[in-house]
Symmetry: C2
Subunit: 466 residues, 2 copies
């Protein structure tokens, strides 16, 4: 049941925290900051952190993930290991139940790749977590690209092209939807003591999926969970990826090198969503964003300087160019389109960034390594000043909210909760309290935790259409 | 550090609870019992339950698992679904961190099959959990056998013979050992702020495993966890399975149709362990066991009668013969060796039970479905009477402890803690408190959480022997 009662002219925003169960993620070098208490191996750290996120009334705590080490920058693992750049990296699903146990409304979004998992096992894990969290699970669908991940799973470099990874992902989604939506009737679990019947066999079906990549018989091993299909998140950057996101994603997060690039990305996503027969508003678009907030502007400037002093350019470079596009090899005055036209190492990946024509290697390197105003959607200052920026972005970029990076943890979230949330609440831009329990209801104000009828998963609802 | 200070003549026993994240597991029909509060989908149920297990000072809470529905008995899924016999069944790893967060010493053993997982992803999950639990994770290695599991993972029925599953399992273990023991040096994580080095690249290695079933490059994505290799548990019943267990397992659990069968199984395991260059005592042998304890004998008898009245023979039959050996199809007077000689459906599986010569179909069916003295290692009565039985089993069967079945939950564990543990403690048969934090130290009294030097994983310790 939705408890939304806002002035519809004011856009209440969705705030989500981007994290990764590792040392460094978009904050390279800051692990050395004396107030950074992040320790991925420590369960108490995660349960405390989840409570901080819930106190901030976030929609989700979002976990990125990869399945290998990015060795492109520098040509081996050394930079990544030195910087703690996504290594060591824990499995993103393992700590979720502990975080769920100490919270009641916060959603959890975890990244899982369709390239390296079996859909039956994955669907079961998601359903289990959706039960254990009371319907607070989201799945960030990725198709992966790291050469080392392929090596870790015995996948030859040329086994899947980029398009084939998406073909596999499409079929993977269909298998999951069949298991989540189509295998068990809503009333299959009868728990009828008199007849000694736990579930009614007449209301549980095999799915008998037989496709190009997967053969999966079913039935699903888990009874219907609150949301059945978890909230689907995606960040499509390539043409095929954008199309996939427009079809499947309920939440799309976008990046960009400039406000204009964000705006264009958001417009592209909306148009593509509509072309898939969905309403433009069916998808929440979240913009990747960073902020530093403090009681006074001087304090915020001091924090920024502090973070800048500890920031490690190598960490940023290995993140941005880890898949093989080492821009340090090129002349700073060369343009990105010249490099992609030549087809050098990593150029396919570079092309997905959609750099404006004329962008030089030097400009890209500077933007990647500097923690300053060269970044799009990065703000620092008083609550008023940062809130002004947030409102400006929200109102001019056709977005629904933000995926926030952290600087240091849990300080960034705690300061966000204490300083910025009250300011945004006063402006009608932030929820006063959680509206419901399930992630889907909280994010979309839907009347039930289930997927909308226009979502592709809905086509697989029990009874199966045959 | 071990705090053991026992009279070495008195055998302190290891107690472990056998469970499964499902409705019915060795207690079919008892889900209807008014005091049974088990709800696998409820996280609070699991965290409360883990605390009950820790209050009972158990070594481990042990989760069985399968990846499909057993359809052998009755020829389809109907009996399993009606009885809640291992369906619905949640993923066994998802709730562990929540249970770990509310306990400090209890170990957790989870079943994961080597037939359906990728070793890189599995090794990462185990390492993550070993970190989050502070070294309290055990892995029950299975190779699986359910036809429906094969169907759920697109594995043709004839792709892996029984022996090939064990070949794959052998290689799976080697990959995991390389990742757990050989990829990161103990001092690889230096966290050196001055040099901005999280880990030392010179102390992290690829494993470059290239085998028949797996190609896995590494490095492991997770830094060394307290135990590195989780405690390895196994129940080998076939010849090949017993040999596998004797080589890899640190804990072997055994069953049997009679005390003699248990004794023979234990003797076989010890002999086989020695043949692999390990000490007979390197392996803890746990006997599957059931008990009902009450303040008075009359109360215990009443409980037994209560449980018997609710027990469902169909549930037991579908469990025991779910892999295809439907004994109801045969004459009650026929012997098991006659059936296995004929090679009928499920006969290979039947042969793994090692029934004594002359055992009839009728005897097997009766024992499978009755909750009474026809079961080996099943006792009910006062704490004194049950403790007498436990001491008798412990002293005559060459075992180190027990894997206990539950009747109703959490009542069975709470009554065990309140009534039987004090009696066993008085007799010097039960720990007074946990000796250490890691599972391996608690179970074995080893001086560190790491595997013994005689365990096969030790051969892969960093630096890799090449």
């Amino acid at each position: 049941m939705s408890l939304f009662s806002r002035d519809p002219a004011i856009k209440v925003l969705s705030f989500n925290l981007l994290d990764m169960q590792t040392v460094g993620h978009n904050n390279y070098g800051l692990w050395r900051h004396p107030r950074n208490r992040k320790r991925s191996n420590n369960l108490k750290y995660w349960t405390d952190f989840a409570q901080s996120c819930e106190r901030a009334l976030l929609d989700t705590l979002f976990f990125a993930d990869v399945l290998g080490i990015a060795a492109g920058y520098g040509g081996n693992n050394d930079v990544a290991l030195r910087e703690g750049m996504h290594v060591p990296l824990n499995d993103p699903l393992m700590a979720l139940s502990a975080m769920a146990a100490v919270t009641t409304h916060l959603g959890f979004a975890a990244t899982v790749s369709t390239t390296y998992e079996a859909p039956f096992a994955h669907a079961r894990r998601m359903s289990t977590l959706d039960h254990l969290t009371g319907g607070r699970i989201g799945w960030n669908v990725v198709t992966s690209y790291l050469p080392n991940a392929n090596e870790n799973f015995g996948i030859a470099p040329d086994l899947y092209t980029h398009d084939e990874r998406y073909d596999r992902a499409e079929e993977f989604m269909a298998v999951c939807y069949k298991l989540w939506e189509g295998s068990w009737a809503d009333d299959a679990m009868i728990r009828d003591s008199d007849r000694n019947m736990v579930s009614d066999p007449a209301k549980v079906r095999r799915i008998d999926h037989a496709g190009r990549y997967f053969q999966v018989a079913g039935p699903h091993l888990v009874e219907p969970s609150p949301q059945r299909t978890p909230v689907i998140l995606q960040a499509g950057s390539s043409g095929r990826g954008k199309d996939f996101a427009a079809k499947h994603a309920e939440v799309v997060f976008i990046g960009g090198r400039s406000a204009d690039a964000y705006r264009k990305n958001a417009r592209d996503v909306r148009a593509s969503v509509v072309s898939h027969g969905r309403a433009a508003g069916d998808v929440k678009i979240l913009a990747e964003m960073g902020l530093i907030v403090a009681a006074t502007q001087a304090e915020a400037e001091a924090k920024l300087a502090d973070f800048q002093a500890l920031s490690s350019p190598d960490g940023y470079l290995s993140h941005h160019f880890g898949s093989g596009a080492d821009l340090l090899k090129y002349d700073r005055n060369k343009t990105i389109e010249e490099i992609t036209a030549e087809g050098g190492p990593g150029s396919v990946f570079l092309s997905h960034y959609n750099y404006p024509l004329g962008t030089t290697v030097g400009a890209v390197l500077d933007q990647a390594t500097r923690l300053d105003s060269s970044r799009a959607l990065f703000a620092w200052g008083t609550p008023k000043r940062v809130a002004d920026k947030i409102e400006e972005w929200a109102d001019t970029l056709d977005i629904n909210g933000f995926l926030m990076r952290q600087m240091i943890s849990p300080v960034s979230v705690d300061e966000f909760a204490d300083l910025l949330v009250p300011e945004l609440q006063r402006r009608g831009r932030y929820r006063q309290r959680y509206e419901a329990t399930s992630l889907r209801e909280n994010m979309f104000g839907t009347p039930t935790p289930r997927v909308r009828s226009t979502h592709p998963a809905a086509a697989f609802k029990y009874p199966l259409s045959r």
